[in-house]
Symmetry: C2
Subunit: 324 residues, 2 copies
């Protein structure tokens, strides 16, 4: 690998001039031409590490996600990448896999690599992010640090699901969540519960989707999911698990029970029956988060800023039936 020094020699100029050539400083046409040629001959590529060390900035943004098996996050990653690369930033995907330790290691690594900023969607390690003093924005799950935050309107999503199920004639509502409740899940649940209470219905039952085991739906009270006719799962995966569980005990969706998910991941429309769900504007979430981060990097103060993006209910086969 040739260095900038080699190029300078080859072109008969100093390294300072070569550096300017790459960073848009003043370079005479003659010098520019000589450098052009030298770069081609030597197939020179600037060294990122040296550049980063000098600049104390890498033009890299870290995207920390809690999982990569839930398709929501890969799709979010695509959006962030798209927007970031348009602005000349690279993004490195950090999969914390639910481990606080791993997440801290990522934060340390990003920081000591002069990352320009971090987008986090884990909802964890808020203080650790803050301590580093590097620009941070959260998406989907809040960090609780006042860092700018982008989320979809989860509460409203929960409400419209409740309305939809009631319209379809459901009487006995249930909610399925994950074992550890993120802020997103909480708002969805609260929107759902609040609307139910508001309509004079009893509190919906609460179930937990077991993420480790195979499509297992658990409930502390020992009630069976099959007792309910209107089921709202906090995400599409849990919804599919629920349909599968019901199928297993002979309950057909949507003939005997309606099910609604959240996210509108790719598989939702391919599933049989196709899944009614609340669509989040994933691309827009990624784009907005990136924009907020870049503005912070540029020096703007954005503490406390929150983008609440609107969601919409997508009616598919799992609610295409009227429960009587």
């Amino acid at each position: 690998m040739s260095t900038m020094y080699d190029v300078a020699q080859q072109a008969g100029v100093s390294v300072a001039t070569v550096s300017r050539y790459f960073n848009g400083g003043y370079v005479s046409p003659a010098a520019r031409e000589a450098i052009d040629a030298a770069v081609n001959v030597l197939a020179y590529k600037p060294n990122r590490i040296a550049r980063t060390l000098s600049n104390k900035s890498s033009q890299i943004i870290g995207l920390v996600v809690p999982s990569v098996t839930n398709p929501f996050f890969p799709e979010l990653a695509r959006a962030v990448e798209g927007e970031a690369s348009r602005k000349g930033y690279q993004v490195v995907l950090c999969n914390a896999e639910g481990s606080i330790e791993k997440e801290k290691a990522f934060i340390d690594s990003l920081t000591s690599s002069f990352a320009s900023g971090i987008i986090s969607s884990t909802g964890n390690c808020g203080d650790y992010y803050e301590k580093n003093g590097i620009p941070v924005v959260s998406v989907d799950r809040e960090l609780g640090t006042g860092a700018p935050h982008v989320t979809s309107d989860n509460y409203f999503g929960g409400k419209i699901v409740c309305e939809h199920l009631l319209e379809r004639g459901c009487q006995k509502l249930a909610f399925i969540g994950a074992s550890v409740e993120s802020t997103s899940q909480r708002y969805r649940r609260e929107g759902f519960f609040d609307k139910a209470t508001q309509m004079g219905l009893p509190m919906p039952a609460l179930f937990t989707a077991d993420e480790t085991d195979e499509y297992q739906i658990l409930n502390k009270e020992g009630e069976q999911l099959s007792v309910y006719d209107g089921i709202f799962a906090w995400n599409d995966f849990a919804a599919i698990q629920a349909i599968r569980s019901l199928h297993q005990v002979g309950v057909n969706v949507p003939q005997q029970a309606l099910v609604v998910g959240f996210d509108d991941i790719h598989i939702a429309k391919l599933y049989t029956p196709s899944l009614s769900t609340v669509a989040q504007p994933i691309y827009e979430m990624g784009r907005a988060a990136t924009e907020l981060l870049l503005r912070q990097i540029a020096g703007e103060k954005l503490q406390g800023v929150t983008y609440l993006l609107s969601v919409s209910l997508i009616e598919r086969e799992t609610t295409r039936h009227k429960v009587v």
Copy 2:
């Protein structure tokens, strides 16, 4: 952020000694203690970039994947990460998104960041990888450069699917592939076709799953998928698309047609009907690829080495019926 120099001052030693403290050189107990304390007081973290520039090596391995929406690759990424981090390496996920340009940019970036090596599963840019002279291994899709390669036995997978469908009484076979054929897809198809021919059957029909559009299955000859009773899709997603398409035109799986996928992604067992498929040992593939890469980094010559890992057929509901 404090530097090694600050720690040295605080501890009353030279930076050389502090460096040795971190890199396992000789350090007297007294000095060690002083440095310990200083590191704590200053919350010092070694700077990765400076370290990398000095060492001309970053202990980072790049994993280049063609997509992140096909769950196979995120799962592969988990495996690679698991094995790599156990050996003290970090992995950065590079999502080429089917773009040659992006992939080259990743290779450049990785190279000029002193990455220790690259694992690629794109099957593209073989010469570009080679030119950089940095250790490379391919997984799933071959690069055609003689780089060590890890793959599952796709050809055998195709064969056993054919056998399975024939056993179940299928007569009219069809294969569904992606529009651009990777080496993996080719072997699966060839195994499937060879076995069919070998059993005296006519050549199976060839269909293409449109990845851009919504569950669209295309075929040049204009034949309809519904004519076939034994369908092998090159991956689980395409299989689900096929089932969905058939459902759309009133053909029920498995009553009227059997379908088998490939990969055994998470959704396969949750789908209704649950999907028969060929399971790849994804974790083992990632582990083996990482091992081969690390051995190359350590200096071993592994040109031409190939690991062929065995696959197994998982029978689920989509082939749980006998076609008559």
